[in-house]
Amino acid sequence: MVATRSRQEERPARPGRARRTLTRRQRENRAGLAYLSPTLIVVLVVVVLPVLWTVMLAFQRIRLINLRRAGVFGEYTLANIKLVFTSPGFWSSLWTTLAYTIGATVSSIVLGLIAALALRGRFPGRTLVRASVLLPYIAPVVAVTFVWEILLSPQFGLVDDWGTRLLGWDRPIAFLSQREYPVSIFGWQVDLPMALLTVIAFEAWRYFPFAFLFLLARLQAVPAELEEAARVDGAAPTQIFRHILLPQLGAVLALLSVLRFIMTFNKFDDVYLLTGGGAGTEVVTVRVYQFLTARFDIGAASAQALVLALGLVLLLAVYLRFLAPRVEES
């Protein structure tokens, strides 16, 4: 980057070579585009065109049966959009998606931060511990959801078995299939959204290694002298964290929040595999899938997916508008 800029600055000093640099630049331009063209073609065909096509599909009444006749010049209608907004459970699934996304994003980052702080210093076996902490993230989603399902099963699950035998629960908890679980906290009766909380816990477990990796890399780049100086001055570890480490982590934390938010918002397989969208965990992506496979309603599925994507864009715009300046400060 620096080198290219300095070459640019040299140019006016040698006007005689202007023609040659120009052609060289053109060549570079052409090579750049040529090298990038395979990427552009793949992204165009598999991402950009499908997105545009979804917009078209969302405004046509298309089902799997009349799919072959559908084209650009079909009949356009707002019926799908209307269907999506008026169908039962639309708003509640939007709220579920939001709660799920925020819960999973925050908990996975907090857990990742704790892990990064704990595994920062050297200790015997650190490499092995660090590698094993990454396992939830690299393991296939189908396999880990099955283990969780079995562990949490009310009939033959380890958690409920231990809970009833060792912790004195009066009956097994159906973690993944119970919508509400009544608990009394200091005499207050509260209904916990059990299945949703379990799904969020699963996301935290599966994705904290992602946050951990980024935060650990950033933590290790913090100059040791800074902390050393604070320690000599008698600062407590929590003070060091608050005033020295946290400001350094600000940018990475902001980046992680956005990344995890986008990824969780668009997530499908985890919820689908764990609960199938039942017991109050129906996020919008699962709804899209159900429109597509249970009703074969491609138009409605597209409309629903489009609403999801627009919702995300809107949320991101709000986030960037109100939080971006704060990021720059830190």
Binding site: G32, L36, S132, F156, P237, A305
Partner: protein, 295 residues
Amino acid sequence: MTRHRVVMDRATVETRVLRVLRWVVIAGLVVATLFPFYYMLLLSVRPIEEVLQNPGRIFAGPAEWTLRTYREVLTPAGRGGQGFPRFLLNSALVSIAATLLTLLVSLPGAYAVSRLRFVGRRQVHFLFLSVYLFPTILLAIPLFVLFTRLGLRGSLAGLTIVYIAQTVPVSIYMLRNYLTTIPESLEEAAAVDGYSRLQTLRKVVLPLAAPAVMANALYVFMIAWNEFLFALLFLVEDRADWTVSLGLAQLSGGIEVSKTVLMAGSVVLTLPIVVLFFAAERLLTEGLTAGADKG
């Protein structure tokens, strides 16, 4: 005086508490991350009747182990088993093809983004962002339509193309971060020696970027091997095309399939990834976060 001592003590007390707490956290993390995998392995070798009677046991001696579950999973469908060898082959084919092709596409792309000045270089990021901004389920619908029409829907080739698109942006990002650390003077020297740009890329840049390329290959392989949604949408109709993830998910819906068999399938699905990962853990963790430490 006393007040002074209290302030002094805060640092000492916290340091002591945190020293203990740190080990508690480390132990907790290790248990939380490893236990589900241990339990998966344990269940896969315990007889199902025993599991149903004693779900809380977390240890079983070798005398109780049974490999019946693995036999059922690994026997071909034609001979009454679940036919996982076929799924393993499909997964391997798709993942290896996706890995090689992604690298073939993203290496020149990353080189262009990191070294060459061209029109629209700054705008490229928006294109990449779009890949992750839209939910895969949104892309899945038109791709489902498109691939149905092209006759690619039930084919592993169609799936491979989707995986390439899903991984190329991250791949370019990772490689670009690494390529910028390679001194440009090396390439200039190669140019003086009469190498063309493509030759330079192949003979100078590629060997130097080998660690990043390896990390990248692992990352793409992992994504392709673990992927579920597109496999479900595109391949579900024909059992012969199933990947391991899909085969396992379909297995759970089947009647008469015990949970221990399901766990054996999970082990078969997870093992290749875990082995690969531990073989190259360093490469992957460093490759994934390259550039993150620059803030």
